[in-house]
Amino acid sequence: MTRIFIPKDVAALAIGADKVAKKIAEIAAARRLDVTVVRTGSRGMFFLEPLVEVETAAGRIGYGPVAPADVPALFDADFLNGGAHSLRIGRPEDHPYLARQTRLTFARCGITDPLSLVDYAELGGWRGLKRAIEMGPPAIVNEVTQSGLRGRGGAGFPTGIKWKTVADTQADRKYVVCNADEGDSGTFADRMVMEGDPFMLIEGMTIAAIAVGATKGFVYCRSEYPHAIRTFNEALRLARCGGWLGPDVAGSKHSFDIELRVGAGAYVCGEETALLDSLEGKRGIVRAKPPLPAHKGLFQRPTVVNNVLSFAAVPFILAEGGKAYADFGMGRSRGTMPIQIAGNVRYGGLFETAFGLTLGEIVNDIGGGTLSGRPVRAVQCGGPLGAYFPPSLFDTPFDYEAFTARDGLIGHGGVVVFDDTVDMAQMARFAMEFCAIESCGKCTPCRIGAVRGKEVIERIMLGTNVDANITLLEDLCQTMKFGSLCALGGFVPYPVMSALRHYPEDFRPRAAAVAAE
């Protein structure tokens, strides 16, 4: 029997993975070949999807991107034994895109059946949890602190300190909440974890629960991810059946269970306090801090709120030790970051690597420049609230502090590439428009500022009192940056101001620009 691996990650499904799988099964049946199709997560090389892998004597051999029409030729080329074909990429792990990565969090993604407890355990799963149970809560917190792990959702707050705060707070009930409201454009790493290696997230949250003494966990996943929701709910069911969740986690005295909750299309619920209000059944309105969620979080109880990628990093840290994780990275940015290379880029996908690569290396060497073949003009890092970087800043290392020093943010690790056809005034206008649509409405700078910001940019685009309106826009951005309650209104000045600073020509009257050429 030959095993064939085909991703069921939504990024593969969106470009025909199911049709390819069906075609392979049909032809194998017609030719009376003994094959089993295993559906996996994605390796994260989206330019090769649908990527079909075949288990051969020489290891797994990949073919991609495979269209349904290619399938008969693949059989004719004896792909079941790794035969030569123009789509053959060899062993995926030898492909330069994967070979250059350091995959700690995404070590299993794309290799295994995400819903196989056997596969998970065989490839190192649960080792972190077992060690955590042996070492006990204070030692777990120490290990995470020593790893230098910082919140991967965007804020970069040290995870160990957050956990210690919750562990040290007395309460009758504590919660662990996973922020899976991955709303940033250009990001898909949380989704890939939930679809491709869901038990890792369950393991990470369970370790957190033991560390802080929580008995209930929630994953708040955005409704735009229906496939991730289905896979993760099934993973929860299997984990309960396997004894990894429930009244005696992995045979220990710890009780912990997780419930998946679905958001309802509000971007602001990615902000942790709005997320907590939403979980409680309220409007997703940002809370003023303090109190911190670590002291008074969900239902006013001490709550650990971390991003999917933060929890997903924890099983490795517990299994291999905090130091092993901290050995990767630079400065105060320790460990690896799953960078998501997206937008108009030739080799888009997930690239997990230690902090420190420059933006230029990410966009040009790894991403291969634009898909359109035109020059790169702008790169937006950190989602819709992240700054636009021009190629002149491509020497910026991918590191929390280095990006802050250049008035940007790495956020959740999304890198969106634009070619030279982009209109940066239009992108600035879009940033304000998006903020206006998604503002929770609690604070004035965000609620009204975003609407006024969009109007001012529209006036600039029409060439009305351009200099005065640019001054007004800069002033408004200052107000929003320092006067908003949370990062939505507070960070929307990043894309707007960076567009204005680096691409001033796009904000000059169009008629004049055309005349000048």
Partner: protein
């Protein structure tokens, strides 16, 4: 097909196609849904989602029922219902097309794909085609950021779209 605002498209009771979730609002069934979820911690969003799925929208008549069961005011239920983009207060078309408008898809030409699609259907964002087949909503990121322009047609993800490919997918689901 001519445009018609979704607000005028209230056609409860019309069901068919592949969307089994369109039903007439039914108070007994509504009470059952509430009862199924009331034991959850923070049950309001799960209840509203369940209404959305069962009936295709959340009928105004559901608001006092939910308020009563959760011991909160109707204003509070209304506040939550109207805060979130997902909860519909009028039924949608039999099929739902969500086209991504976020930056990563924009960089790959999604705005042009969306404009062409809306123009061919004769609707604007948030509207339903006059025959009640299809509602088109914007969505801000489907996590298909290296495979755009992207859309979600009912539950089917679509990537690397161009105007022709999207039109074909719509036709396949809705008929011509």
């Amino acid at each position: 097909m001519a445009a018609s605002a979704s607000d005028n498209e209230a056609r409860p009771g019309k069901s068919g196609g592949n969307m089994p979730n369109m039903a007439v609002f039914d108070e007994a069934r509504a009470q059952e849904i509430i009862a199924e979820h009331i034991g959850l911690e923070g049950p309001l969003l799960p209840i509203l989602h369940a209404f959305n799925e069962e009936f295709g929208y959340v009928d105004d008549a559901a608001v006092p029922l939910i308020a009563q069961a959760l011991n909160i005011t109707r204003a509070e239920v209304h506040g939550v219902l109207t805060f979130y983009h997902d909860f519909r207060r009028v039924p949608a078309g039999r099929h739902m097309l969500k086209i991504c408008r976020a930056e990563a898809c924009q960089s790959r030409g999604s705005e042009d794909v969306a404009r062409r699609c809306l123009s061919e259907l004769g609707v604007d964002w948030h509207q339903t085609t006059r025959d009640g087949e299809l509602t088109v909503e914007p969505v801000y990121c489907l996590g298909l950021c290296a495979s755009g322009p992207a859309a979600l047609l009912d539950d089917e993800p679509l990537g690397q779209l161009d105007p022709k490919k999207l039109a074909g997918a719509v036709e396949e689901v809705c008929g011509s």
